[in-house]
Symmetry: C2
Subunit: 298 residues, 2 copies
């Protein structure tokens, strides 16, 4: 067995000492349960103006982006979250020309949005430029959209952007981290109201809405908020392996279009974007909610 | 702070020493990732003729049944697995009079099967009587079916039972643990062939078929097997929070009935069994597979 100690940042696995030390990262819920991942290597660790940003390397998931302690995206997470937060509203809205993403620092949602030829412009407003830089460096498969001419990256607070912008959007995607941390205000009703006003008369707001298994109170509060603003609000879910409980929910909030009645099957058939998770059947199935989830948001 | 050391089996949480020691149980996949649960108390730990059996207590999940190291069922798992392995075939088969469960030691599947008035007899063949005893003691909400007159419990090897039985069944449910451990043979083609022969000409075999996210090779092998025997084979999935990756799959293997075309909506509407997860929408939605899962079993 080798006796050299690995240097900081060096892979533990190549030293021959892997049976002597292990580093495990666990993201816990209520100090009682969670996902645990073995950290082969801390690839990068930095502190931005807003939060701590880490890239950890794991045998199964590949590189994982961690923001203030929450697993956000990984090489091998099948891109579930980015596909589900984008293709669902974009295959419902008949003419999604002007799209806004608030948050979305890993640029995965941007990349998926720009798979739609209908989209003429996609603005991504992310508060933390450092997240984009770190993520693009280590998760480049998510960053293809950045080089698309239709992409416009703005680095500022989403609340400020919405308050100042005169533009109207067809689809606004709230690709935010969590109701705690830098995005806390963006989960509140006053912000949702501003988003409503920044949408065209047939616009759709799409927001990630936490885990209905673990974050029951946050989910209830959020649906109460958005239902008091939008005439059409439907929850859908997806299996996102690195998120708490792996069951993740999204709020489809719409002024006019219904997520199932107005699903554009013809356009989907014609375009069939290359995906790992999303497809036509999943689009519909995602809106079927388990009994305990229906009870939570009824 | 108290200085008395807790005795074996005593809750760590009540000693005042909980900030000095923690016990965590992690069920890992490929030594790289997994679910971790805090063990407040090891409620019971025993060794049967076949396997190690533990009951651990956790703040979030309640009591958890652990068989040879795998989390199997818990007070607060929303009963997802038991509902999905039973109601799906039972609302498809038009007259499920005679049902056989192989495995199913916690009796949760038995309890769900017997919610159907069409069922005249449900035999549960479990190899390990000790699992039934331990589980019934600590997870009594799963055990209601045991006291039903229509329930018949047999303690023997499922392979032996199928080989000797002259009975024909309408639905056979393979509620087995994993392809490793005491149930290994029951995941193989020769056994599936015997199950086919023990079914009536319009019978359905339902088998849990592991995680399509973590157990890719096992899933592929199993679908190859059952497709070479049954004319109709369809996979469906459910979100089971304590199982590896939380995405769990089931193989619907049928001689005649299709799981969606022959779903008996009228009977569901009339009976509406009290469930935490399953409902009519979930029945259909569960068969919609993500792109990466379709690719896995194509």
């Amino acid at each position: 067995m080798a006796t050299t100690k690995p240097k900081a940042g060096q892979s533990v696995g190549v030293t021959g000492m892997e049976d002597l030390w292990n580093v495990w990262y666990s993201e816990l819920h209520e100090h009682a349960t969670g996902l645990t991942v073995k950290v082969n290597r801390l690839v990068e660790s930095t502190q931005s103006e807003f939060q701590r940003i880490d890239i950890i390397e794991n045998d199964f998931f590949g590189k994982i982006l961690v923001l203030y302690g929450s697993l956000m995206a990984a090489t091998n997470d099948n891109n579930v979250y980015n596909e589900m937060i984008t293709h669902v509203p974009l295959f419902v809205h008949p003419k999604p020309k002007n799209v806004l993403i608030i948050g979305g620092g890993d640029c995965g949602a941007l990349t998926e949005v720009l798979k739609h030829p209908e989209v003429k412009k996609c603005t991504m407003c992310e508060i933390d430029k450092k997240v984009v830089e770190v993520s693009n460096r280590h998760l480049p498969h998510l960053a293809k959209g950045v080089r698309d001419k239709r992409a416009k990256l703005v680095f500022m607070d989403g609340k400020e952007f919405i308050a100042k912008s005169k533009e109207k959007f067809d689809v606004i995607i709230l690709d935010l981290s969590d109701p705690i941390g830098p995005a806390a205000d963006l989960f509140q009703k006053p912000f949702h109201q501003k988003v409503y006003e920044a949408l065209n008369p047939d616009g759709i707001m799409l927001a990630q809405s936490e885990s209905p298994y673990f974050h029951k109170e946050a989910v209830k509060a959020m649906y109460k908020n958005v239902r008091s603003i939008f005439p059409i609000v439907e929850m859908y879910t997806a299996h996102m392996p690195i998120y708490p409980s792996s069951l993740w929910s999204f709020a489809f909030c719409s002024k006019k279009y219904h997520p199932l009645k107005h699903f554009n099957a013809k356009r989907y058939d014609r375009q069939k974007p290359k995906t790992r998770y999303y497809n036509q059947d999943i689009h519909t199935a995602a809106f079927a909610l388990p009994e305990y989830v229906k009870a939570l948001i009824k």
